[in-house]
């Protein structure tokens, strides 16, 4: 008698739980559909993008609708995932054998998955004539150990943004004095600091940027077969010394070392920085800091003795786990075809990876009423030919990157001389590369 009430309570709870689980039926049915795939059979593919909603909702949905019209047997289910959490979500999905079919990833993260054979090799899945439709440098940006793990989507090259008002305030001429090289940037930093107390130049050292700066200044990262560090040279030392000097003389903000790229854009929007490389943020500046946007003049990216400029590539991968490989690749090609990419790049200042789309006058001619957004796009397209992927995908990339970052931090914070720090980085790299 006593326990009856308790047991009935437990029963009620159990029923409650089960009834709430009930609506899971239709989702498992959806998974079932996926199994029947292949050429002409019915297929549902899951497509994940990185944070494109809500700005590009109409665009992506339009592409999907067009694709489904052309391929009535294929259904595309789109999910937009926050960029910061994409790696966790995708890894959870892959590890439980429930990966999506088409995913937008950046090459660094994708190369790690490719290294573990988790991605479809596009050299085999894509016909050679289709491969030729893409900018060659962009196609090759997605190669590791001799396989191509992705189809390139949109690109960007480095464009500096300059706040004309600060240049004028410092007695500089924005048309003439805008820096093209690292040495120019140092001069601007000095003048601006002396005249206005603001920062003339804000280089970010986040993520792979330290490595990029070094390559641009003429250092090679590794020997040819990638087994040994090769940056402990005059050029490498120069890079370490350059940033150490700027930092210790307070010519660049302290956040250069610790902040992520967000801090560069925040300070630029606050009118505290004259020049930084962050043209991908141009739309954001337009929305958050309209007065700064008005004063913004885009210019070619800052580089060093090598004259090299970097290209960044966003790509589309198809995980090996997909059960509709053919349909997935088909959709990936459709999404990245010239027509669809051209439409995409009209919505935001990016460059298409499809050669045909790039020939559009939209990327070459600035109209009368060209805004900074348009100038960024045209500048970016103009330097595409001279830009390349500076940091090729490497094994244990994240560890290598971190080791270099730690070493240059030691130098900048004054714990070591630049040469000592460079020696430390070399030793760390040799150890990691020998794994």
């Amino acid at each position: 008698m006593k326990k009856k009430s308790l047991i009935s309570l437990l029963l009620i709870i159990a029923m409650l739980v089960m009834s709430a689980c009930g609506n899971s039926d239709d989702s498992s049915a959806k998974d079932g559909e996926k199994k029947e795939s292949g050429g002409s059979e019915e297929a549902t593919i899951e497509f994940w993008t990185m944070q494109l909603k809500p700005t590009f909702t109409d665009y992506i949905e339009g592409v999907i609708a067009d694709f489904e019209k052309e391929n009535p047997n294929i259904k595309v289910k789109w999910l937009d995932v926050p960029a910061a959490d994409l790696s966790q979500k995708i890894l959870t999905a892959v590890s439980s054998d429930s990966a999506p079919d088409v995913v937008n990833l950046n090459p660094t993260f994708a190369s790690q998955l490719a290294d573990l054979d988790a991605l479809v090799n596009m050299d085999e899945a894509v016909a050679e004539e289709d491969q030729k439709k893409y900018v060659q440098g962009a196609w090759e940006a997605n190669q590791i150990n001799g396989t191509t793990f992705a189809i390139p989507w949109y690109l960007s090259t480095e464009v500096s943004l300059n706040n004309k008002a600060i240049y004028e305030e410092a007695g500089l001429d924005p048309e003439k004095d805008i820096p093209v090289t690292y040495e120019d940037a140092k001069k601007v930093a000095k003048t601006v600091k002396e005249e206005t107390g603001k920062y003339g130049y804000f280089p970010s050292l986040d993520l792979s940027l330290v490595l990029q700066h070094m390559v641009k200044m003429g250092a090679d990262l590794t020997n040819e077969d990638g087994t040994k560090a090769a940056f402990n040279t005059d050029a490498g030392l120069k890079a370490f010394e350059y940033f150490t000097e700027l930092y210790q003389d307070d010519l660049i903000p302290r956040e250069a070392l610790t902040g992520d790229q967000r801090s560069t854009i925040d300070m630029y929007q606050a009118g505290q920085v004259a020049t930084f490389m962050g043209s991908q943020f141009i739309s954001q500046i337009k929305e958050n800091a309209p007065d700064i946007y008005e004063n913004t003049l885009p210019s070619t990216g800052i580089t060093g003795e090598s004259g090299k400029k970097t290209i960044s590539v966003q790509n589309i991968v198809v995980p090996e786990q997909t059960e509709s490989k053919e349909a997935a690749v088909k959709f990936a090609l459709f999404l990245t075809n010239a027509e669809n990419q051209l439409e995409f790049s009209k919505l935001t200042p990016i460059l298409p990876s499809a050669v045909e789309a790039l020939e559009d006058p939209y990327f070459t001619e600035a109209g009368e009423d060209a805004e900074p957004v348009d100038l960024v796009r045209i500048q970016s397209a103009a330097q595409l030919d001279e830009s390349e992927l500076l940091i090729k995908p490497m094994d244990n990339y994240d560890e290598l990157r971190q080791a270099m970052y730690d070493a240059i931090s030691e130098a900048m914070l004054g714990n070591m001389s630049p040469q000592e720090a460079l020696d430390q980085a070399e030793a760390a790299w040799n150890e990691i590369l020998s794994k």
Partner: protein, 288 residues
Amino acid sequence: MRTNKLTPYLFLLPGLIILGAFIFYPMLQAFWLSMTDYNMIADAEFVGTTNYENLFQDDLFWKTLTNTFIYLIGVVPALVIIPIFLAVLVNQKLKGIGFFRSAYYIPVVTSLVVAGIAWDWVYKENGLLNYVLDILNIISEPIHWLTSTQTAIFAVMVVTIWKGLGYYMIIYLAGLQSIPNDLYEAADIDGANWWQKVTRVTIPMLMPFVLIVTIMSSIAAMKVFEEIYIMTGGGPLHSSETLVFYIYTEAFDRLNMGYASAAGVVLFLITLVLSIINIKFMGKDNTA
């Protein structure tokens, strides 16, 4: 007692089923993975104690572990003691006290992503804090709160404390309600002043809740991640990097899930020992 032997287990059953499926079993998995080379894509292969051996030789592991302890020592006393006084303060019968309670609770519900930006304004080189200290003539040149190896971790601690005060205040507030008024009346008769009542009645009667707050805030401090991720990214030079941050990068940036699990198991064991010491030390009188 005349109750059936099964009764306690029946009460525990629903909770234990849930914990079993969603935590105990995954925990066992994590223990197992810590002895494999799991990378979340290929099948896991048993590697024995290799991960642990590597871990103990990893300087960064020791550094982040030390930082975690610094965090623990810095944050826990503040979060155990200050909220008691806040709770006493907002337990007054005053007009508009509900407003103040809510105001103190606001940091708990403010997302750290946005709070992080506001705190950036405070900590910047030419930010609010340096401005105030300058006016008060305490400093002659600005302190780089978030960008120097000496101060970054402490600057983030303040944010953790700011966010935790209201949380633990509510726990104490609930505890205060359960103190019988008779005790205060008796203290009044004895002529006790306000401070004597706090130390002789309130705090002893709150002990069960002090125990919760101590254990909860210690565990939270051992696992601190989000503040660091948002405010300093662990820098400069790993000076504010904690163990969970390290675990996160190893797992999801480098795909070393097996290695990360080993670090997680070490964190687990340390936290467990700490909690047991806490319970033994503080919980004696009230563990029935």
